[in-house]
Symmetry: C2
Subunit: 234 residues, 2 copies
């Protein structure tokens, strides 16, 4: 009897945004795993902490990040996929904690790709950074026939501008050190007024402010910018 | 002491996808409201039912829908916003149940626009149809530097094709009677292979299947199509 691999979305920060399903899986899975970048604390574990029973087998994937991409090297996924498979083959369920939603710019997909062919996998969707940021910012991002685009801030300046051109609303993700560039692009595209900067949503140091008021050129990696075109149908 | 208006995301269907915060608000709000289109049952209430205490004041917004748009007429929002304001002014919290996430193509924005200027409002984000559908379909929709676009199926055929052109991944929402059209566009755009049809996610009659295998020209209003470009970086 093989175990099940769970990708468990725990939401972006507020522990109250865990779903009932995530709580149930955390209370029953024999093994709980999470990335702990650069040997620091795991963000996902901090969110889920109130629901992790004492004495559970935990796998902290402490790993150096590849410079800039904020992703661990691929061999880290190979290594831990093998460790998970040992547990699964012995009938133990393994729950991998995922900040936000597992399949919305999450790294769980790398474990999914390695283990889904041979093991039972269940994805527990979570509140995404899109939902949490628009809620915190009081910004109804998309409605009716709006086209909404999600764009990583890592794109080149002209590519960003081109993609923002045709949409009614946008969330720019992974802003981090690209903050200054994104701000310039939005200003040129006449979208700066009304754009909202959201960082650390759901944490005590949450920051929600008009992008035009943000002076820095640099933000946390997990900061987002929300854009709604004026004169939209809202 | 004025009450608070809550927009409470209850997820797309599975009652286990309610968040702990949604459950708390349902257990404490004195008034619980929901749309009940065409006098039928409310989908959002059905999802939240296990957590609505007996004897709570409920406002079922039974209302005819405007043909095709599946939205009630604007005067319905005016009417119920006034009813909510009476409760809020008397210090009672009003929780409006929202299928999915309140600000992701939800109608809560119409109450938000009318009541936020004069009342305290809190948005409780929920698992969106995007998260639930990609989880159920086992499709990691976006990762790394992917551009993800959310497009209503109501757009014209050439507009749909143009917007699908530049993205790595897409969710087409509100498919309903546009199913045949969307399928044609995806076929022309060389995106049909790999596209996944998802309807009634989280309900007993959930359907997840390759779009190429769907023979009908018509689907339920709340059906979605998930697209990932082959040769992407996943």
């Amino acid at each position: 009897m093989s175990g099940t691999l769970y990708g468990v979305g725990v939401g972006p920060g507020d522990p109250e945004l865990l779903t009932l399903k995530a709580v149930r899986v955390l209370q029953t899975a024999q093994v709980i795993a999470y990335l702990a970048p650069n040997g620091g604390d795991s963000i996902a574990r901090a969110i889920a902490a109130p629901h992790i029973p004492a004495g559970r087998t935990e796998i902290a994937m402490t790993t150096p990040m590849v410079a800039d991409s904020r992703e661990p090297a691929a061999n880290i996924y190979d290594h831990f996929a093998i460790e998970f498979a040992v547990h699964l083959n012995q009938g133990r369920d393994v729950a991998v904690l995922c900040q936000g939603d597992p399949f919305f710019y999450g790294s769980f997909m790398y474990f999914f790709a390695r283990l889904a062919p041979d093991h039972g996998v269940e994805i527990v969707p979570g509140v995404s950074s899109l939902g949490a940021a628009t809620a915190a910012a009081h910004l109804p991002i998309a409605s009716r026939n709006d086209v909404l685009i999600v764009i990583p801030a890592t794109l080149e300046e002209d590519d960003l501008a081109r993609r923002l051109g045709g949409c009614d609303a946008a969330m720019i993700v992974k802003v981090g050190r690209h903050l200054g560039k994104v701000k310039r692009v939005l200003e040129i595209s006449d979208l700066l007024s009304g754009a909202i900067y959201a960082s650390r949503v759901g944490w005590p140091d949450q920051r929600i402010a008009p992008l035009a008021d943000i002076a820095e050129e640099d933000g946390p990696y997990f900061s987002n910018i929300l854009v709604r075109r004026r004169g939209g149908k809202a």
